[in-house]
């Protein structure tokens, strides 16, 4: 589904050339749970941005279902992210003036069933009585669960999770990963520095200094 071929990402920071990702060769198949493990600054978030089209590779290529990201305009890449991908970031970013339910509806409010589906998702994530609360009235774990609901609301092909457990305690983090696996039928690409979060992963890559290597396959 997602194929990276010799994909590299180089950027300049204060005139210094930074190789965030080097010659990445990777595939993500349908319904697969892929884990990317690495310490801080290893390039794992950059790899996630490459795979999700948030950034274009500076060399090599990344494609989704055979369509190279480089051949897509900014608008087409945005549409692809909205339609086919879901995102859970390190911080539980929610729109502050929208309720939990409305935050979930952000990504898909196209049909009359959307509200029912969003309510059902929040309910199944244990937020049935919190869906009309504002983000400021939710705990960090609750916010992250709302982010999970938002990420899977449109039944995306892939959910990209960038250290989704970093702002939570260990049990809270495990619960979020478990909910993600439980409620999402598509693929998951998760970046983390905590190996215990990847116990259910089908494949795990480690990344160091921008170079990714496979370490585990079920």
């Amino acid at each position: 589904m997602i194929v990276a071929k010799s994909a590299s990402l180089v950027y300049f920071d204060h005139g210094r050339e930074i190789h965030a990702c080097r010659d990445i060769d990777m595939q993500v198949s349908d319904n697969e749970f892929v884990g990317i493990l690495g310490p801080s600054g290893s390039g794992k978030s950059s790899l996630l941005y490459l795979l999700s089209g948030l950034k274009n590779s500076t060399s090599g290529d990344v494609s989704f279902r055979g369509q190279s990201y480089k051949s897509l305009s900014d608008q087409e890449r945005s549409n692809l992210r909205l339609r086919e991908f879901g995102f859970v970031f390190q911080q539980p970013y929610l729109v502050g003036y929208l309720t939990a339910l409305e935050n979930v509806l952000l990504v898909d409010n196209s049909s009359s069933d959307s509200v029912t589906r969003a309510e059902s998702l929040l309910d199944s994530l244990g937020l049935g009585d919190r869906m009309n609360r504002m983000p400021s009235e939710l705990s960090g774990g609750e916010k992250q669960r709302v982010c999970v609901a938002r990420a899977i609301m449109s039944s995306p092909s892939v959910v990209f999770a960038d250290e989704p457990t970093a702002s939570l305690d260990h049990s809270g983090g495990l619960a979020v990963v478990s909910l993600l696996r439980q409620h999402h039928r598509g693929a998951v690409v998760m970046v983390t520095h905590d190996p215990s979060m990847l116990e259910d992963a089908d494949r795990i890559f480690t990344i160091a200094e921008g170079v990714a290597s496979p370490v585990h396959s079920k």
């Binding site: 909205l82 970031f89 502050g96 309720t99 935050n103 009309n132």
Partner: protein, 392 residues
């Protein structure tokens, strides 16, 4: 699955959380100051223009009676009088009545100080004709006795000067409203026009200069305008002065032309200052929402969609602000009219379209500034800087 419904919950907004009204309504603390600035700007501009427009409006109303007549008098040389009269008798426009009058000036009050107003000295028969022609009616009292220091004024003049039946209009010790005898008000006319008259004989015996004025009336207003035009054209460079309503309008427009040019500059400066202020405010608000925009762009909303949304929100705030501004200006001007202007017989139009038209550049300029600000902020915006917390 939840069985509870979100309907009826006051927090539940819409199936469209990104609708343009959601942010302004849920962030009243942020949207209200923006609206308030627009309301005040519209109030200020419309107020200034309305008050300024009230001056020519007053001129048109105070001297509105002259729509119904055309006046002519020799330029100081009474020997030209018969020739002048003959000239009008040969006019191609049918004249219904020719009135020989004397005139004296007295002052009425306006928002810019005293204005001269004509006290017509006419015979009672001519006065009856003129009163009816102008659309007035004797409401109280009687007409002046020939040769007596007595006057009849319309209700508007009475209200303006605070006079009533039996009061003195002209007096020997009043330089600006002088007559050798106290001229008492013996009649009040009802109707919307301003008008005042006394007896021809009294002015002829007691007032200078000894020059008669010819007043011509045609069967209707359309003929009157034709007579005005004919008189102005045919007596150009002649030894006669012609008084017509169109020439009064032209003179008023000419007088206010420069004043309105200055007003344009003032309004342009005001709009510029307000627009800069609003652009700064909008920029601050955008900065406060940068995380929201970064998140939305990261999860797949296109930049153009986010820019459009920000502009729709700004349009909504600006449109509501402008409408409230117009409504507030209209309400305030209505209060000013009923409390300050009407009781003194002054004029102001709270619904003056020109006043509100002058405020239209405010929303246009603010929207342009908002669009430019939004475009500038999004120009090199990188959502990753937000999701990586490089931007707070």
């Amino acid at each position: 699955m939840s069985t509870r419904s979100t309907r009826g919950n006051p927090r539940y907004a819409s199936r469209k959380p990104l609708a343009a009204w959601v942010f302004p309504v849920r962030n009243v603390g942020k949207s209200l100051p923006l609206m308030l600035v627009i309301v005040l700007a519209v109030l200020l501009i419309s107020g200034i223009v309305s008050v300024m427009n009230s001056i020519p409006l007053s001129v048109r109303n105070v001297y509105g009676y002259s729509k119904h007549i055309t006046g002519a008098t020799p330029r100081g040389d009474m020997s030209y009088f018969p020739e002048l009269k003959e000239h009008f008798e040969q006019s191609p426009i049918p004249i219904e009545r020719t009135i020989v009058a004397r005139t004296v000036l007295f002052n009425v009050r306006s928002i810019v100080g005293p204005w001269p107003f004509v006290l017509h000295g006419v015979s009672n028969a001519d006065a009856s004709y003129l009163v009816e022609k102008i659309g007035l009616k004797l409401a109280k009292g009687r007409f002046p006795e020939p040769g007596q220091p007595e006057a009849v004024i319309s209700g508007r003049v009475a209200r303006n000067l605070g006079l009533s039946l039996g009061d003195v209009l002209l007096r020997p010790d009043d330089e600006k409203n002088y007559s050798p005898f106290e001229v008492k008000i013996v009649g009040i006319l009802s109707g919307s026009e301003w008008f005042a008259f006394t007896s021809y004989e009294y002015l002829k015996e007691n007032h200078f200069p000894p020059v008669d004025v010819l007043i011509f009336a045609t069967p209707n207003l359309s003929e009157q305008r034709k007579l005005d035009a004919w008189a102005e054209e045919s007596l150009k460079s002649q030894r006669a002065l012609v008084f017509t309503f169109p020439s009064l309008e032209r003179d008023t427009q000419e007088t206010f032309r420069i004043l309105f040019k200055i007003l344009n500059v003032v309004v342009a400066l005001l709009v510029t200052v307000i627009t800069l202020m609003m652009a700064m405010l909008i920029n601050i608000y955008l900065s406060q929402r940068i995380v929201e925009f970064g998140l939305l762009q990261a999860i797949g909303f296109t930049q153009s969609k986010l820019i459009k949304r920000a502009i729709y929100e700004a349009s909504l705030v600006v449109a509501i602000g402008w409408l409230f501004g117009v409504a507030s200006a209209c309400a305030l001007l209505s209060v000013i009219r009923s409390v300050l202007m009407d009781p003194r017989g002054f004029y102001i139009d709270p619904m003056d379209p020109a006043a509100y038209a002058y405020s239209i550049p405010v929303p246009i300029a603010i929207l342009t500034a908002a669009a430019a600000t939004v475009w500038w902020r999004f120009r090199k915006f990188d959502p990753i800087s937000v999701v990586e917390r490089r931007v707070a």
